[in-house]
Symmetry: C2
Subunit: 282 residues, 2 copies
């Protein structure tokens, strides 16, 4: 079985390694815009051969693991070029625009829109890990639009990878994911920026920052090529939750200005309910 991976970063690389582990007799073909990542992927044994537009049509499955703006640019051409029994899987962090883009393509039924909820703040092939997806959620969108035989194969593969499958409408997906992922990244990017601006003395950060700081700014290490297009593609939902976040911060600021101990206490106490929710995530 020939599996092509477009984008050999953390996610694409991890899918390639997972495929090697969970699919018998598979050859991994890969491509990446960044020549260094491509050669690293060979060195690390993530792929065996180069994927090029010339051999797209030889693939049985192609995983599209590139920034979501690039997905929109390439996806129709890719569908044009795959063979009539191949499956194209996208794994991007937004789903509405991607599903919209392919909806009228004659090979729509050979496409499966997914979002594996897995990742770290690291990027590139060296961050890839064959167990990255184990136990993680895999969101599948518009499964009824994918050819049953191809869908069945994909579902079986994700199950072999021990992923927890969940079907979801692409519009709902983009809304939920703005709340539980995209806003966390913005919060973290801007917190990192603010602290670096205010605290000119890096040594003070080294000496005084505890694990709490490291935890809240961890995501600020994430890749701009991945995240900038996500924020634009999921603009409506992100602006909605970001506006609410800013308004909550403004309100909290007013309570501090007013020395309103009681209300600050109550707000923190209410927010402690997140404990139960975090327990549920584990």
């Amino acid at each position: 079985m020939k599996i092509g991976v477009i984008g050999l970063g953390l996610i694409g690389g991890s899918f390639a390694l997972s495929a090697k582990k969970s699919i018998r007799d598979c050859s991994l073909f890969g491509m990446d815009n960044n020549p260094e990542h491509l050669s690293q992927a060979f060195e690390l044994g993530i792929i065996n051969q180069s994927l090029t537009p010339l051999n797209y049509s030889r693939m049985d499955v192609i995983i599209l693991a590139i920034p979501v703006n690039a997905v929109l640019e390439i996806i129709l051409t890719l569908l044009d070029q795959i063979n009539d029994n191949a499956l194209l899987i996208d794994v991007g962090s937004t789903k509405e625009m991607i599903c919209e883009k392919v909806k009228l393509h004659s090979k729509r039924s050979q496409f499966l829109a997914t979002h594996p909820i897995a990742g770290t703040e690291f990027s590139g092939p060296s961050a890839a890990n064959k167990n990255l997806f184990k136990g993680k959620a895999q969101i599948l969108c518009e499964v009824n639009k994918t050819r049953p035989d191809l869908l069945e194969w994909a579902v079986q593969w994700f199950k072999n990878m021990e992923m927890k499958l969940q079907e979801m409408d692409p519009i709902e997906h983009d809304q939920h994911i703005a709340y539980v992922s995209h806003i966390s990244h913005i919060s973290s990017f801007m917190l990192g920026k603010t602290v670096m601006e205010k605290e000119k003395d890096e040594k003070a950060i080294f000496d005084m920052a505890g694990s709490g700081f490291a935890s809240t700014v961890r995501l600020a290490k994430s890749s701009p090529s991945m995240w900038a297009p996500i924020f634009i593609q999921n603009k409506k939902n992100i602006l909605d939750v970001l506006t609410e976040y800013i308004s909550n911060l403004e309100e909290f600021k007013k309570l501090i200005q007013a020395n309103d101990y009681k209300s600050i206490y109550e707000k923190i106490e209410q927010t402690n309910a997140i404990k139960g929710i975090l327990e549920g995530i584990k």
Copy 2:
């Protein structure tokens, strides 16, 4: 040697356990407003006897590990009551108001203001850990105002605990710590609040939230009795950095509204410099 601990939560409990481990022949006396915490501290072997105002004067050392508003309320009376060779150590997260409060007390030289940069999002005696402070920073303020023999004992104890000692002016301490700790907590509390408000469907959080979400809202589990007074006592510095944080979020929001890919990319890329800083913290 008799060591009294006032406040048997995460920090006080961990100091008690550290003392048992690192000081020969010591008896631990403890008190806590919460009767359940007091009995837990006995059960967990954190303390051996009750500390009460009646035996304050028998202590050689007293650790004050209670919310910073309560520190201000109790500290002068405590200094009045300790014996002439005892040392009183406070371990709160703000230093300016506490140092100001004691400055004219006749036993000022028997006081040492510290801030151990250690903690978790958990609280209470059950969260206490004898190794919590190992390898962690311990900020010491106004050391020249503490009696040399008492200071020397404390420094030796903290070194035995393998803490990394650092002297700092209380005003500078409060400014730096607003940047590298207090603002992270506000960011996290309000993020948790926002997501709980927007995402009415808790199951969606369980299913879709990844480790990034858990990491950014982890601190939102922190105790309101500890944090509400910190935000009020360090008001000036916190409002300063919080205003900057909100302004950075507003600016980022405008860039998303304007689909300004290039500027979003650049801002994220600049913020990635936090990688180097986080490496320094490890």
